[in-house]
């Protein structure tokens, strides 16, 4: 089976409340999948579960990543295995410098993957080359992690980290939220530059506009913890036109 990520019958709850109710999804190498859905459908829950946040209880189902049991791995192991989550709300960490954070992270995943650890000089070179991709302000790496960054800077910083950590599977969790049109373009262009035949993306979004820039191969509609409809990129346009009520009515019928 040529699958990178395989989710089958995933059920999950938080504090006793069932959020995912039998989710199935298969993503192959180099594919871009979009997950859309109304608020509360379980989109961000899915992202958090895949990245390894501990607040969720998996009540049924399984997830394999490159053939291994993903749900059994610590978050740092998932990152080492090539999974990356661009956070919807990147965390501010006062006192930890961006440069120190990024170098520690890059070398941690390199070590996990059996690659050589980068020297300070090599890392700086990599960092400066990568900055250009996301048009990141050079001064941001001198600050503490996400501290005092604008909404757009935070999101760009997520894509910057994505580029540095060289994952094979990237989840973009509402990366478009809070972005103005210019920032959206920059972030989208960066993502497009980072697309390769091996690297897959799961783009989680509420709105269609991001998908004008990052054109998906597949679009899925998540509603009440299940994928209720899948299609090509035209499904996103249909949703934009008809709204989610159409899906809600259909799935209730």
């Amino acid at each position: 089976m040529n699958s990178m990520l395989h989710i089958s019958n995933l059920h999950a709850s938080v504090e006793g409340k069932q959020i995912l109710r039998g989710l199935n999804l298969e993503i192959g190498p180099g594919e871009v999948h979009a997950i859309m859905g109304p608020n509360g459908a379980g989109k961000s829950t899915l992202a958090s579960i895949l990245a390894g946040k501990e607040d969720y209880e998996i009540t049924d189902g399984q997830v394999t990543f490159h053939g291994k049991d993903l749900l059994d791995m610590d978050p740092e192991v998932r990152a080492g295995e090539g999974l990356f989550l661009a956070f919807q709300y990147p965390v501010e960490i006062p006192g930890v410098s961006m440069t120190n954070f990024l170098r520690t992270a890059v070398n941690a995943v390199r070590e996990y993957r059996g690659q050589s650890v980068l020297s300070a000089g090599e890392f700086l070179k990599r960092m400066n080359e990568t900055k250009a991709i996301v048009e990141l302000d050079a001064n941001l790496t001198k600050r503490a992690v996400n501290e005092g960054f604008s909404g757009g800077e935070k999101k760009r910083n997520e894509i910057f980290q994505l580029a540095l950590l060289e994952p094979t599977f990237c989840i973009l969790d509402e990366t478009d939220s809070g972005l103005d049109i210019d920032a959206l373009r920059i972030v989208s262009e960066a993502v497009n530059k980072l697309r390769t035949p091996e690297r897959s993306f799961l783009v989680i979004t509420h709105y269609q506009r991001l998908l004008d820039h990052i054109v998906p191969d597949f679009v899925h509609v998540l509603y009440q913890g299940r994928i209720v409809r899948s299609g090509g990129k035209e499904l996103a346009l249909e949703l934009e036109e008809k709204g989610y009520d159409w899906i809600k009515e259909e799935s209730l019928a």
Binding site: G52, D74, P75, E76, P90, V91, G95, F101, A105, L165
Partner: protein, 423 residues
Amino acid sequence: MDTPVLTQDTALQTWTDRFRQEAPATPAREAARQALETLAFPTRKWEAWKYTDIRHLLKQDFRQQPAQGMDPVPGHIPGLEADRLVFINGVFSPSDSDLSRNAGLATICPLAAAPAACLAQMGDLVGHQDIFAALNTAWAQAGVCVYVPDNQALAAPIHILHLSQPGETPLLSQHRNLLIIGAGARVTLLDAAHSTNSHPSFANHVTELWIGEGAEVDLIKLQDESAQATRIDTTVVSLAGKSRCSVFTFTLGGQLVRNNLSFLLTAPQAEGNLYGGYLLRNTQMVDNYTQVQHIAPHCLSNELYKGIIADQATSVFTGRIHVHKDAQKTNAYQSNRNILLSETGTVNTRPQLEIYADDVKCSHGAATGRLDENALYYLRARGIPERQARMMLIHAFAMEVASTLTLDPLVAYIEQRIHDAFS
């Protein structure tokens, strides 16, 4: 009914007698010796000692002990270019000291060689505020006198290095700093204490610091002794108008450390900064008892104490801010923040504000919590192993205070100690 009291007095008398030694009978020392006859030993019934039990001091047979040569002398901070005064077991060691860098700029000498004019001020700030202050004034073995003339900036920091090498008998040492900084002068002092073994010791140190108009002084205390060391460190700082003083207290080691730190803001536009950082493990305890006296109007005080508490360790913080009636336009800020790494650690924090002026800005805050779980998850999601991620967050929290130091070698030293302690 009188008998138990008499017994206690006798015990206390026997105890205070251990502090006696050859010392010139100056008026200040004489007055302190007399005061000792009426000063009691603190108990937890006293408000100022509510959380800290120091009765073990009465039970152990502490003795002053002769200095022993050490080669090499520990406590060296790599890269720190400073004048150095070394005290071993409380005794000045000229051969380990080096006062060449500020030669001719200021009077920097052991207390025994202090000019009479400086000695005459001894005790003026600390008075006989408690038995420990009085004991120190009465019987301090040694000390440092620094007198910096007006408008003189020192060429190098002054590093006062206390080394304890207790023998089989518990070690007693008493040190006195008499620091007189002239108007417009600029000085950085590092007062550091280390032990070379883990036998019990008790150090009773007192620092009096006068800061002239417009002068700027950084006083950094580095308390890095063994797990059998008890330290009572009393510091009183008097600031003249437009002067600035920052006292940093870093407690990295010691079994029990009590810091009594008082700032007197005596004239307008004085600025006092009280910074503290402590890393406590095992059954370590630190009790920071701080007082800021806003006596004059238009002064600023800023207090930030941050600590990391692991295992069964205990932190006590008291922040007294007293704004006198005439001290209008006072700005006083205070914050005590702690991270508890265990279920069994204890934090006691109490702000005590007494405000008698009506046009003032005072704020105080205290927060005690665990490491930020969201930050931890974020770091781990980027591939950083949990242990390392925790270390990064501890480091970030602990270094907020230290990173404001201007002495880079000292910042690096503290950074390394934090790393060693928690990795």
